[in-house]
Each structure stands twice: as C-alpha cells, then as structure tokens.
C-alpha cells in the first residue's frame, strides 16, 4: 500500500463532537473524525455502534443534536442532503436508497443531475453517462432493466456506480461489498485506488476485516457511539481490530458436533433442475448437520436455495423430507413441509419495517404458538420473543422498538430470529452473517450449532470461507449451476474452499 499522506495536508471534511440521540438511545456521543484527500479511512465497530448514523449526519440525512461538520474549513451545524451533495459528498447507503421503479441507467445518473440543479432532463444523455462508469468498473449491468427487478448484488453495484459517477471529493461507502464476491470487490478496489490517486477522500465501512486492512490507510474504531481508537492501518491486524471493537478476543476455531452416522437424512435433494439456473443438483443433509454451500455470484447457489423454498420452483427433480416426498410448487408448500429460508435480500424480503421487533419475530410462527383451543398462547409467545431477543443480542432498548430504527446488522438478526422461531426441520440460510460484526458472528454460528443439535438440518449459503470452516460438516461448491466439489472433514479449510471456488 502507498504511504499515507503527511499530516500537513488539510482535511477535506471533518466532524467535531457529534452527538445524536434517538429517544433514549444515544447513537453517537461526541464523535470527531477527519478525512484527508487521497486517503481511505475505515470505520469499524460492532452492529449498532453508530457508523451509519455518523454517515447520515455527514450527508445531511440526519440532524445532529450537537457538534459540527466542517467542509473546507467552513463549519456547518447541520447539513442538508442537497448541500452535502453539492459540496462533493457522495454516499453509498447501507440500504442502497435506489429507486426501484427507474432503470439502472436513470438511477446511476439522476443524483448527479439533481446536484447540477438542472431544470430539464435529457433522456438521451443518460445512457452514455451510465455506460461510461459501468464500463470503467467492467460490470455486466443491464442499463435498461428496472432496479426493482435486479438481484441484490446488482442493486449494490448500481448504488456503487451512482456514487462514482459524480466528480465527488468525498465518497462514503457504508458496507458496499455485502452482496459482492471477490471479482467485483477486486474491481471496486481498483477504482478506489484510482480515485485515491486523484485526491478523493474515501470512507469505507465493512465487517469484512480483510477488506478493511487491504484497502485503507487509516482506521477508526467505534464502540457504543464513541471513537475508541484511531490510527494507521498498518498498525492493526484482524485480531487487534476485533479486540478494539468488542473488547474481547476473536474466536474463529472450527467447532462441529459429531453426527449420528446411522440417522436417516432429513433432507434429500435429487436431480433438481431448473433450465438456465442449475442442473442435476443432488445432495442430502442429516439431522444435526450443517451443510455449507458456496460458489461465485451467479453460480446458481441462490437459485438452488430458492427452488428448495418454492420461491422459484425447480422444473424437475425431487425433494424428500424425512423420507417423504415433498411436492414443492410454492412457498406455502415449502413451509408446510417444514422448510425455512432466510433470504439474501433481507431488507426487502424478510421484514415488516414499520412493525416492532417482537411482531416480526413471531410473524412466521403464530401457528406454533396456539393453545389447546386454537387461541394464541400469549405467555409462550412472550417467552419465544424474550428468548430470541436476548440470544441474538439484538441491540435495541426493547422488543417493542420498530425494525426501521435498528442498525443494518441488528435488522438481520431479527430475520434470523423470525425463522428460528418457526423451528423448521430444514433451515436454509443465505448469507446468515452478512453485515454482522465479527464479534457477533461467533454468537450466531453458535446459535446455528445449537439449533442443529436439536435435530434441525441446516444449509448455510455463504462465501465467507472462515465462517464455513468454523461451523460446517460438509461444504458443496457450486459453479455454473452444478455442484462441482464436495468437501468434508480435513478438506474444509479457507484455502481449499477459495481454490475450489475459482477452479
């Protein structure tokens, strides 16, 4: 990595003593930070420590209770969205903030036109501008499809393109890589290096610590709304960042329970086929087993999961649960058969954002909480909610808080809780710890181990190799819609997984 700029450089943007409360929750307590041109500044910290809130204050989306944002030496007690954009601040929001009803090209170009205070809109000029940035990133985005129809990864790429299309001086990326795999991340990083050379200041938020260390020159670590430490990236490693974040040591050791070799498989998938998505997929999972499924983006891993869950049923092939053939044509079929699915795109598929955490947790399992007279067993519902709320360490004042007010990582935990509450026979999780901080990852994997120990068959779809290593009995590698490798026992190491994925 290039050496960081000298201290004499004036910061492009600085924040001073920012405090922000939401009702009784203190999201930020006197945070200060400065961004230098030509530097990537990483923000790290547990879920709910205030990273996104700080970013929203810088971009004028939230008002701070006190403190100021200083741009080019001019202090603003509060920004607004327009003034932030016109002073050259661009943000890739954690939830993307795209327009589902507009095309990719329009989404990419529109904010630049707004910032330019244009009165007229020249539809003809939109495509070339969008094309330029998509080509620079060497992406394969269909500029004319509507964003609402895209996969999560393509939505994320669109959000990235939108921020890069501006001649911005400060680019803030709030977990820009959650849905991306190595190739796209590598391309994004190449562009980041180019921007840095041009003197742009960048902020990068990610829970993938390898990425943090690879891309940044400076690291600031937050905990509970305060900055705990800040320094050169070269002075940190994965372990020390995790320790500063959580206050305790990082545990990533492999821990898998012994399986009962004689037990009949819980789930058998046999010759599943969906033309254009996957071909001849067969595998089985035993009770208590955690099966990992990995592969590149577009390899078909998500489609296989969605076929099992009935969201996009397979064209041919059979699925058996506990030896009984399950004819899965729709999501209700799958739920009836005892299959649960934690989707990839949680914010749009999994949650009622305006409802409370409690309501969301039991939303899928009311039928499991009936008493003898088919009424709702309130006491048991309360127990389930309280149990999952504390097991998953959801960071909120109480389970009555609306999901909309949660941080990104905590909203994901609510989706997990919702599916765990249904106690399915087979639970398929697509990226269960995406966007979850390193400290809590271990806790979530532990929860999955416990669920497996109760006899659940669990499928974890992920491209986070250390996570697969830590909890999976076996790992399937999917490429071009086919299962190409099956790893088990000592073969399950991060190196072998990476190798097989690329092969």
């Amino acid at each position: 990595m290039a050496s960081p700029p000298t201290a004499a450089v004036e910061p492009v943007l600085a924040v001073h003593g920012i405090t922000k409360r939401f009702g009784g929750v203190t999201a930020l307590a006197g945070v200060s930070l400065d961004l230098l041109p030509g530097e990537v500044h990483c923000l790290a910290g547990e879920n709910g420590c205030g990273k996104s809130t700080l970013i929203k204050i810088i971009s004028g989306v939230e008002r701070p209770d006190s403190g100021e944002v200083i741009i080019d030496g001019v202090a603003h007690s509060r920004m607004n969205a327009t003034s932030a954009i016109t002073s050259g601040v661009q943000v890739i929001y954690q939830d993307f903030s795209l327009f589902p009803n507009l095309t990719v090209a329009e989404n990419i170009v529109l904010t630049a036109e707004v910032a330019g205070r244009q009165k007229l809109y020249r539809a003809a000029s939109v495509r070339p501008k969008a094309r330029a940035i998509v080509d620079e990133l060497q992406l394969d985005l269909d500029l004319d499809s509507e964003v609402g129809d895209l996969s999560v990864a393509d939505k994320q790429l669109t959000a990235i393109c939108r921020a890069l299309v501006h001649a911005a001086r400060v680019i803030i990326m709030d977990e820009p890589t959650t849905a991306l795999t190595h190739t796209e991340v590598a391309r994004l990083f190449a562009v980041v290096e180019r921007l840095r050379a041009r003197g742009v200041a960048l902020v990068f938020v990610s829970h993938k610590l390898e990425e943090v260390l690879a891309i940044s020159q400076r690291v600031t670590i937050m905990r509970s709304g305060r900055v705990v430490t800040s320094g050169l990236a070269s002075d940190f490693d994965r372990r020390s960042i995790a320790e500063h974040m959580t206050g305790s040591e990082l545990d990533e050791s492999r821990l898998v329970a012994d399986l009962d070799e004689s037990a009949a498989p819980r789930l058998v998938v046999s010759h599943l086929d969906l033309p254009g998505a996957f071909h001849d997929v067969s595998f089985s999972v035993r009770p208590g087993e955690i099966l990992g499924v990995t592969g590149l983006l577009g390899s078909g891993r998500t489609e296989i999961a969605e076929a099992i869950f009935g969201a996009r049923p397979a064209a041919s092939g059979e699925i058996f649960i506990d030896g009984r053939r399950a004819d899965i044509r729709s999501i209700p079929d799958a739920v009836d058969a005892g299959i649960g699915y934690v989707p990839e795109d949680r914010l749009s598929q999994g949650l009622f954002l305006e409802k409370s955490i409690a309501d969301n947790i039991v939303a899928g399992s009311l039928d499991r909480h009936r008493n003898r007279w088919h009424g709702l067993d309130r006491a048991r519902i309360r127990a389930t909610i309280a149990g999952l709320f504390s097991d998953l360490k959801i960071n909120a004042p109480n389970p009555e808080a609306p999901v909309r007010s949660l941080s990104g990582g905590n909203a994901q935990r609510v989706v997990l809780a919702k599916w765990l509450a249904t106690e399915p026979k087979v639970l398929v999780l697509n990226g269960p710890t995406v966007g979850v901080d390193v400290g809590s990852k271990a806790q979530i994997l532990d929860l999955l181990r416990k669920a497996a120990a109760r006899g659940m068959a669990i499928i974890v779809i992920s491209d986070d190799a250390p996570e697969l290593v830590s909890c999976c009995h076996r790992v399937l590698v999917v490429a071009r819609g086919r299962v190409t490798h099956e790893l088990s026992g000592d073969e399950i190491t991060a190196e072998i997984i990476h190798e097989r994925m690329a092969a």
């Binding site: 589902p100 007229l120 819609g481 690329a502």
Partner: protein
C-alpha cells in the same frame, strides 16, 4: 422479444391500444355508423373534461399520492369565478375569468399540499376531508344558485370550434376545449419525461426517503404537485361549464371514480412511481368508448357505473398479477458470463 417489449410499452400501453382498437372494430361491425369523424369528434368532446382531470390524477399518482378532491376543487374554482363575473363584473373578459378560476384552484391545491407535506398525513384521508370542506365552503359563502347563462365573454367561447365540416350524417366539429385538453396532455407529457420536476415525481413515487437522500426537495415537490392538480382541476371546471353553457354547483363531484379508474387502467400504479400520459389518454378514451357503446347498445346507465367499477378492478388486478409474475422471474445464469468471471478469477 425486444420488439414485443417495446410494442407493449412500459405500462402496457400497447395492450390498451389493442383493446381499444378491437372494441372500435367490433362496434363498427355492429353499427356501421359508429366509424365516422362525427363519432370520433364527439368522443373527444365527451372525453375533454375527464382527460384534463385524468392528467391531474396521473401527476399525483405518479408522485405516490392520491387526490379525490379534484372535482370539488374544479367546481369550487370555476363556479366561484363565474358567479363573481355574473354578479359583480359581467364585462370581464374570458381570460380574466379563467385566470381567476386557476388562481382559486392553485390556492385550494396549495392548501391540500401544505397539509399533506407539512403534517405527513395520508393523502387519501386529507383529500377526502378537504373535498367535503371545499364543497361546504362553496355552498355557504359563494352560493348554490344554478346559472343557466354564462357571462357573455365565456358564453361566446361555447360555440368556438376548431375543425368543422359537414358529413353525410350531420356536422362534425372539434370543440376548442378539446384542443385545450390535447395541448395540456402534451405539456404534462413533456413535464413528466423531459424535466427534472417530472423525474422528481417518479423518484418520490418510487421511494420518498431515497429521493430525499438524493437531494430532491421532496416537500416542495409534493406541495407543487397539489398546486398543479388545483390548476388543472380549475381548467377542467371552466371547460365543463363552457361546454355545458351553464354553471351548476352540483356538477362534477361524485364522478371521481371514473377518472381514477381511467388512470389506473392506463397503467399508473396506485403504489406510485409508474404511469404515462399516453396510457392515461388511452384509458380515458377507452372508458368513454365503452360508455358510448354501452349507451348505444341500450344498456341502462346504472350498469355503466358497474362497468367502470369492474374495469377499475381489472386494471388493479392486472397490475398485481404482473407484479407477482415479475417477482418470480428467474434471474437466469448467463453461461458465457459465468465462464468469463471464472476465467478472470483463475487468472
């Protein structure tokens, strides 16, 4: 496939055009008199006021709201302007009366907009409320007299036609107000597709929070939308009186459903962010043609309302089914693309 996509249009305009065409052909076969310039012009004439209303409704629906007070605004502003002219200034020129009506419409729209944007209330509830308020205020403070005669300047507009010729069966003429409606359609089309204000409407209708973060001035735009609705409604109100040659304070209110049905049928999404002028025009004409042909076929008018209601349900139903289909569409794996990615990772 691509050509089919283009022909169908982004809001199913193609399908609608096809339905319309089929209906016209069917009607012409049943009664040959149907297919004539006279019918075309008279359909346009009866579609004039609904079309102007529909443009107003389209604009709010695209921005993610709904307005059911437009008819009340129309009658309030047009009736107030006309009765002012009749009672106190009979010599007022037509443009001044129309200008006065537009100003009143804009103020009423501003009231809607401010209440909705400032207090973040649901648009349906607010406009249902203001609809009652506007009508009540008009009866109490302006009056409820029926004027059988318009002020002279407006009355002279009533007989202005742009095209006028004799046909075998009678005269065919295009009323000046129909031309106004066509002009307004072009203006709204231009605004929605070629201006940043138009883009702001689609953006806000798609995701208001994302629009705010992108730097759109959401509140200001929302207020302007309702002002625009007020202005269009006032024009529609005046057009209605000019074409009917009288001012009746009990007109218009109560027919809101027809208009909303036409707009939804024209492909505008009730959830916001979708809709086009072309679709709206086709929707309005389709409903007019259906009404005309049912009348021609001797169907009692009570059934017309049922027909419109059914069309509304069909329109919304088609949207819902299309949305569900979309959600189930397979994101197919492009084999070549997958190969390329794999090669790059390997290298």
């Amino acid at each position: 496939m691509q050509m089919l996509r283009t022909l169908r249009g982004s809001n199913n305009e193609g399908v609608l055009a096809l339905v319309l065409l089929t209906l016209i052909i069917a009607m012409s076969i049943i009664s040959p008199a149907f297919l004539s310039a006279g019918t075309a012009f008279s359909t346009l004439r009866s579609a004039t006021v609904p079309l102007i209303f529909a443009l107003a409704v389209l604009v709010v629906i695209v921005s993610g709201g709904i307005d059911v007070s437009f008819a009340a605004v129309a009658i309030f502003s047009a009736y107030t302007a006309v009765s002012f002219a009749i009672t106190t200034a009979p010599d007022l020129p037509a443009f001044a009366i129309i200008g006065f009506a537009i100003a009143i419409g804009a103020v009423l729209g501003l009231f809607n907009g401010v209440v909705i944007a400032r207090f973040r209330l649901p648009t349906l509830i607010v406009t249902l409320g203001t609809q009652g308020v506007f009508v009540g205020v008009m009866y109490t403070y302006v009056g409820a007299t029926y004027y059988a005669q318009l002020p002279p300047s407006l009355a002279s507009l009533s007989s202005v036609t742009v095209i006028d010729f004799a046909t075998g069966t009678g005269r065919a003429s295009l009323h000046v107000m129909a031309v106004v409606a066509i002009g307004l359609s072009l203006i709204i089309w231009w605004m929605l597709t070629r201006t940043m204000f138009g883009r702001a409407l689609y953006a806000i209708g798609g995701d208001a929070e994302a629009a705010r973060r992108a730097g759109f001035r959401v509140m200001r735009t929302q207020v302007l939308v309702y002002v625009l609705v007020g202005v269009l409604a006032a024009i529609a109100g005046v057009a209605h009186m000019v074409m009917g040659r009288s001012a009746n304070p009990q007109d218009l209110v109560g027919d809101e459903l027809d208009i909303i049905a036409a707009v939804v049928l024209g492909g505008a999404s009730i959830f916001g962010g979708r809709g086009s002028v072309l679709g709206t025009v086709l929707g309005v004409i389709l409903i007019q043609v259906i009404n005309n042909s049912l009348l021609l076929a001797g169907v009692p008018s009570a059934w017309l309302r049922a027909a419109v209601g059914m069309l509304l349900i069909a329109g919304v139903g088609i949207q819902a089914i299309a949305a569900r289909k979309k959600a189930r569409r397979v994101h197919t794996v492009d084999e070549q693309k997958a190969d390329r990615v794999v090669e790059e990772v390997a290298s």
